[in-house]
Amino acid sequence: MMCHEVRQHLIAHVLGELDLKTDQTVEKHLSECDQCAAFAIQTRRDISMIGRAISTDLTAPPQMCERLRLSLSHECRPARQWFTWKSYALAASVGVLVLSWMLLRSGPVPINESEQLLNPQLVLATNVTHTHRPDELKDLSSLGKLAGFNVKVPGDNVAIGKLICAKEACLSGVHVVALVYEMDGQDVILYQARKGQISLEGLARMEVDGRVFHCCSKGPKHLVVWSNGERVFMLASVMAESELRKIAMRA
């Protein structure tokens, strides 16, 4: 340890606040360096003098407790501490349990109207046929509840028909796009995209028959958003270029 480093530690050394290893290093240096040793003696003297000047054996004035007694006679009973950390922890645990139970038991969670960001420019791509793969079907039920739709999960490899509704919403800070398809005249299924989870790297620009589309996708389970000033929503897994051409022609 160099002299300037030792001097930085001298006050803590004098106060006995250094860890054992650093203290021993400082002590060793002081035994070998006369200048630092002299500096240490002066520091010890200063700190001792400061300590003696600040320390005091004053006693509280005798009337202090009497004055307190008098003040307390006008005080209300101390407020009951309902909200200790224990009660917060208990409330949080109960909240989590209730929420879990509600999510498991309840039906669809309605979208708060004030949270909705409905897009008036939405152009629906209708009459799209899509066959779901089994792994895509797993998430449908939970996604539907999240977006507030009544969802019946179809069986594997079900062909779906008309897109009847597309909805944009902001749910708990997550941007969600939901698509509802009509199936067999009564059932609906939906897809959603969470824009926050789609990486910008997935953005692609495509031009089909003079119309510009932007694609945003992250894997087959995520929605692709195609845009040409208006918006068209489709599923990534069905979005072959030939189908895109059909949609573009319709739009």
Binding site: I50, A53, R69
Partner: protein, 185 residues
């Protein structure tokens, strides 16, 4: 009766139990507050504030823990708030008062006068520190607390306590040398 018993009674609204509890620690409280505030009048008023605040918050006190550190935590908050108020009113730069009624253990009137002036210089240097540092140094030397204990009592992180106390003492050394006309190499 233990501190814990008294604290539990106080939590149920027994103000006499609280007074008894405070009575046990009033000297430590008074010394810290007095050294921080610098005058008897201010110290007495601040002590009253600390005690009333402690009474109002007594239900936050965990009776499994010792009372003095908790009381000191309340006191440190009251003292720092008081200093902030003074700062807003530009009244902070008042010299700390020497406790004249304390005995100086020196022999002659001359040496007693010298010690008195030396002590006042040190208290002046203490008064020139910012309130946060001053409080930590006072807790160190009045209560004899370690950095760790100060950290626990004030809720300030241990490295911050260590830094503030050592830097504060360095500054005090410099003030004293400057006041004494010592030119540093």
């Amino acid at each position: 009766m233990t501190d814990q018993d008294l604290a539990r009674k106080a939590q149920k609204g027994d103000s006499e139990a609280f007074v008894e509890l405070i009575h046990r620690y009033q000297n430590q409280l008074y010394r810290v507050v007095y050294r921080f505030a610098g005058s008897v009048e201010q110290a007495e008023d601040l002590c009253q504030d600390c005690m009333i605040r402690a009474y109002r918050q007594i239900n936050r006190f965990d009776t499994q823990r010792p009372f003095l550190p908790w009381l000191m935590r309340v006191a440190s908050n009251v003292c720092l708030n008081y200093a902030k108020t003074l700062k807003r009113q530009n009244l902070l730069e008042q010299p700390l008062e020497e406790d004249h009624h304390e005995l100086f253990h020196t022999d002659t009137p001359e040496s007693q006068a010298f010690a008195r002036s030396e002590r006042q210089d040190i208290l002046d240097a203490l008064g020139r520190l910012d309130e946060n540092t001053r409080l930590l140094i006072v807790m160190r030397f009045v209560l004899g607390n370690s950095f760790r204990e100060i950290s626990e009592q004030t809720g300030i992180k241990l490295p911050t306590v260590a830094f503030r106390v050592t830097k504060g003492l360095e500054r005090m050394q410099k003030f004293l040398k400057l006041d004494a006309g010592v030119i540093e190499p």
